[in-house]
């Protein structure tokens, strides 16, 4: 078989189909549209089934904790009567140390059920350890493919720790230097081994998080007698937000504002060998968050089940300095030491809480474990070694790749709003580039995709001279 880059990429759909056991073509129903809910019904799991699988495997039922000191800190700089109660869902306490265990649990369960001998996941994040941990429980072999080093072999401390964790759970770790061709090696490995593709973007990777949304509502009711007014989700590939929002919608009819938060890495190119070690966050950042929300199908499966734009009510960014600052605050004010990337949404919540009244509730729906390498101390040290200037000032001055600015006073922590209508328009632009005609089913699909009206879609389609097909 020809294993050149072009040849392998040319047979990717065939490799994908075999490795996830889903015929994605069955869900295609328009020029652009596909049956999203149909795809999410793949495997016929109910939310109760998901919870049972997870509870049997060390996943879920993590505590919701009120951060009283952080709340009071926010109130010190809020208008009188403002400063919502801030809670965190301590997802670090799942086996393998993050909410990603929820996603991995269903993928590994499904892989075992379908008779696969092993699982493969392409990830430099906590998902690697999650898949490795769940695979261990099912006696599945496991390969994690990581983008880890620059071309000189210098690795991000955070990713090196994640590799160690994968190996601790018995997985083989294939580490690569910077570049999108990781996907090429990933395809080759799927072909070579015949293992299951435990992609983050299959329906299993999303339905596994619905339990988190359900727990957020139920835990909050139990602790406060109320449902949260706002839930903040760190956003990268979109799955965290999508699954959480779906779980919330399945649990309550009341409106809960869903906010996505990403670390602002503006100006750093994700595939650049030089930029790779200049960033201090390897996930939860805009380098993934923005391209994925505007084009979810850029993932490693034909149709991504992670579609954040369907569910997001607000999208904000925070700076690296703000997230490190709040990570330290969580440690010294609440006595909870956790990894920085998982606190992206906490940094955002600290700012957003100041817009809400004191009797309102804001839930940060994750934390992640911390360790050597995966700790703000280690990452700041690495940043300083890479010439990044670290100082106190106004975080809005921070230039990713050049500086990390800690807020010199807590009132300077300010989540920056991203205009969702601009994101919606860019999403539609990406879609309109693929076709010249739209069916009625496409209009309905696109309106759902952007959580807006059909009129909004039609107005945009005219700018691109897209023809609307008449259907009988």
């Amino acid at each position: 078989m020809n294993n050149s880059y072009e040849s392998v990429m040319a047979r990717k759909n065939q490799i994908m189909q075999k490795s996830v056991g889903i015929n994605y073509e069955n869900f295609e129903d328009g020029n652009l549209s596909f049956d999203y809910e149909g795809l999410l019904s793949e495997g016929n799991f109910t939310l109760e089934d998901i919870i049972k699988i997870q509870n049997d495997n060390g996943v879920g039922n993590t505590p919701l904790k009120e951060c009283k000191n952080i709340t009071n800190l926010a109130r010190k700089v809020s208008k009188k009567g403002y400063g919502a109660r801030i809670f965190i869902k301590d997802e670090a306490l799942n086996d393998s140390g993050s909410f990603k265990a929820r996603r991995a649990s269903i993928s590994c369960y499904q892989a075992k059920k379908m008779g696969f001998k092993g699982v493969i996941a392409a990830t430099s994040g906590n998902y690697g350890a999650a898949v490795a941990s769940q695979a261990a429980k099912y006696g599945l072999k496991c390969i994690i493919v990581q983008e880890c080093y620059d071309s000189l072999g210098v690795g991000q401390p955070e990713i090196i720790e994640k590799a160690r964790a994968c190996e601790a759970y018995g997985a083989e770790v294939v580490q690569l230097s910077v570049g999108p061709e990781l996907f090429y090696k990933f395809l080759l490995l799927l072909e070579e081994t015949g293992y299951f593709n435990a992609s983050l973007y299959t329906p299993y990777g999303i339905m596994g998080i619905e339990s988190l949304g359900k727990e957020v509502i139920e835990d909050c009711l139990k602790l406060t007698g109320k449902i949260p007014d706002m839930v903040v989700c760190t956003n990268a590939g979109g799955g965290n937000l999508t699954g959480t929002a779906r779980g919330i919608q399945k649990t309550t009819d009341k409106k809960v504002e869903i906010v996505g938060a990403s670390v602002n890495l503006k100006g750093l190119h994700m595939a650049d060998d030089n930029d790779f070690n200049k960033k201090s966050f390897t996930t939860g950042h805009t380098g993934f968050g923005l391209p994925f929300i505007m084009n979810p199908d850029r993932s490693d499966v034909p149709r991504s089940a992670a579609r954040a734009l369907r569910y997001i009510d607000r999208y904000v960014t925070v700076t690296q300095g703000e997230v490190f600052f709040i990570t330290e605050a969580l440690s010294v004010l609440e006595g909870i030491e956790r990894g920085p990337a998982g606190n992206t949404s906490l940094a955002a919540a600290f700012s957003l809480a100041q817009e809400l009244k004191e009797d309102q509730i804001i839930v940060v729906q994750e934390t992640e474990y911390t360790s050597a390498g995966k700790h703000h101390q280690a990452q700041l040290s690495f940043a300083r070694d890479n010439g990044i200037c670290i100082y106190f000032g106004d975080p809005s001055e921070e230039i990713p790749g050049k500086s990390i600015v800690f807020p010199k006073t807590v009132d300077l922590i300010k989540a920056e709003e991203i205009d969702l209508n601009i994101i919606r328009k860019k999403y539609l632009q990406n879609q309109f580039n693929k076709v010249d005609k739209l069916k009625k089913t496409d209009l309905k699909f696109l309106a759902e995709e952007i959580n807006s009206s059909i009129d909004f879609v039609i107005t945009e389609s005219k700018k691109y001279k897209i023809e609307l097909e008449d259907e009988e």
Partner: protein, 101 residues
């Protein structure tokens, strides 16, 4: 000499610069795509020789022998004193400066 069966790490080139994807940033385009993987050495060998290993999932990979018993050396890095200043800022804001001595 490193004995057959030893636990080692190898490094190999997956794609040479000319074989890489188009549309890469300049800095990435001019370097090869590299891979590192660990496994048991299939034959006695010297460091930096081209060798074959059997990985944990039983795959055979070939590449340059770069480490014997590869270890984890990542740490918490050099101390960053600014972290203590963060503690001071949040505690004095919350509890007042007199409670932070």
């Amino acid at each position: 000499m490193i004995k057959k069966g030893s636990w080692v790490q190898i490094k190999k080139i997956v794609l040479n610069p000319e074989e890489r994807a188009s549309n890469l940033p300049e800095a990435t385009k001019k370097v090869p795509l590299l891979l590192w993987v660990k496994g048991h050495l299939l034959e006695d060998a010297l460091m930096n020789e081209s060798v074959k290993v059997k990985t944990l999932t039983g795959r055979i990979e070939e590449g340059e022998l770069v480490a014997l018993n590869p270890s984890y050396q990542h740490t918490y890095g050099n101390f960053i004193p600014e972290i203590l200043e963060i503690d001071q800022i949040v505690k004095s804001t919350l509890f007042g400066s007199e409670n932070n001595e």
